[in-house]
Symmetry: C2
Subunit: 374 residues, 2 copies
Amino acid sequence: MDQREGLRVTYRMAPVRGESPEQAARRIALEQTVELPDGCYPAEIEERSVGRVDEAKVLADGRWQVTVSYGTGLAPRDVPQLLNLLYGNVSLFADVEVADASLPEDIREWLQGPRFGRDGVRGLCGVETRPLLCSAAKPVGLSARALADRCEALARGGIDVVKDDHGLTDQETAPFAERVERCQDAVTRANSATGHGTLYFPNVTAPVDQVAERVAVARSAGCRGVLLSPFLMGLDALRWLAESSGMVLLSHPTFAGGLARPGHGISAEFLFGTLLRALGSDGVILINAGGRFPVPEEQALATARRLRDPALALRPALPVLGGGVAVAEIPRWIERFGRDVMFLVGGSLYAQGDLERAAQHLLATVSRAAERRP
Amino acid sequence: MDQREGLRVTYRMAPVRGESPEQAARRIALEQTVELPDGCYPAEIEERSVGRVDEAKVLADGRWQVTVSYGTGLAPRDVPQLLNLLYGNVSLFADVEVADASLPEDIREWLQGPRFGRDGVRGLCGVETRPLLCSAAKPVGLSARALADRCEALARGGIDVVKDDHGLTDQETAPFAERVERCQDAVTRANSATGHGTLYFPNVTAPVDQVAERVAVARSAGCRGVLLSPFLMGLDALRWLAESSGMVLLSHPTFAGGLARPGHGISAEFLFGTLLRALGSDGVILINAGGRFPVPEEQALATARRLRDPALALRPALPVLGGGVAVAEIPRWIERFGRDVMFLVGGSLYAQGDLERAAQHLLATVSRAAERRP
């Protein structure tokens, strides 16, 4: 590869019988670039295209760690090809995971990261320091009118961002255009009454040839942001919407569970933290510990750190803690994650019946807990 | 869910302490639809939206198997939402895999499957019964001119489909438009000389806002088909290209390895067999046993069966056996897979140096082996 800083990927893998870590590293470097056996290509290709092995070693737990750098010219302003370099054919080997990768400047330059980020979202909501609050209009099957009522109650109660449930698309029961108009109107009405700056984010996850239209509908209804599921749509949809939509982008992790598995896949902190931020998520819904999903607290903390890490020269994004956050636990989560987060609370509000009162109670709880924290 | 035939998904999972298989099934049915605890929604939503548990049992190996049906109205002509129903949030649970799913008629109706399929590809190549042959122009880093020379040699040697290597996109070394024109011209020239009907398939995997243009360039250069990597692009890109491109679509499995893992993920035979066919792949590159990747032969056979299975009321697709197919092994693979396959042979030809002669030898080997098989 050429001499500029490359895409440096650290893989961890199960030991392979009959191979050394160095040989495994070389095998990966070839598989991910020339896809030919050693030497079955002209000599100049070695320097120009083949991944460079930077490190190959045995870890304390017996697994191998190998680091390979790829020339960024192999993925010219191209997210699908970036994913291919990162974890393309190598994903089809057994027990190989991407532990981490460093995104060099010339990739960061065109990805650009969040266009609003943490500070932009805070500005739009008019909330400077306390943790932000998010909830969802749900469930699928309700009419647009009933969903709008729920948006209004949540907004009146002081929720900062009311989003569509991620399974709401364009079902007959609440067609997209009607739903977006009714829900945004309901939130605007609530804001007029309360003076809050609640935002409504409709779900624009859609067939690839309909996404632009959904965003346009959301924009003309007055929405400032949208929800999307990049793993359902393809990760490049996120980059594209960041470049073209002018909207705050909130990313949902649905469908990512096959990819973000320890041992084989892409590490949660790189995938949900570094990569979703670099691709342009202003907020990333991440599964917190203690909820419905089996996530260790350390993983959620590490992902949140990546989203806000000043070492990555892009705007910080907002960690949105979800996956079953109980209102009663929130003071403890503020201790752990700090105030620069958004809490996504769904079922725990719905279980209380009166959404507006439940939201008010949540807001009071969060405000008190945040004040106690320096 | 309503009374029509639904999307019926069979999950297999590790037993969960403190839960019965029935409770786990109900938990999945709620998570995938209303995302609310039991009862925290109006009564009519139960019938309208919540997944219906059809089966919950303990398998002989101790794992649980649960089958849940989702009303197809939840995913109206919408592939991302179909994926969300199939394996959305449930992918974030531990150790849950989609073993299989049945695509009901009203989903098949709009997905439509392959537009050319096995017979269409055979017709375009002018090869009625023997196995088809595919190879790749590679490696990345060569000029468009050098890649075109390789296409010409492979076409002269009798390869039926010459495709771009899947890592060739729009790199400076061989820009897309120049490469496509030169490679298609080279193949056309070879066809004039030999009388073969070799096709050239460029790789249109690209940023989401550039795919349509790449396809247009390929079409105007005279290409009849393209290569794409649906797992890098998002699976809906495949459906969209099948609907809109008029091209033969050859799907590559890169990046799918995180998703297609036994124990957690989507079973290879459903993902690469049923789903890629239903979404519109005319040919699916699948990793064969005995090559560079650790795939059991039974898995490759099961995937190939799904691609051609007459029980799925869609055109049969062509299994394209790749992942390190050695020329010498081909007679054995014909015994196993039958003649209705395409062999993707790359490194094994390149290792011989003279591509045209290597291809001729491959064609002769395959023709002889196919004749011996009734």
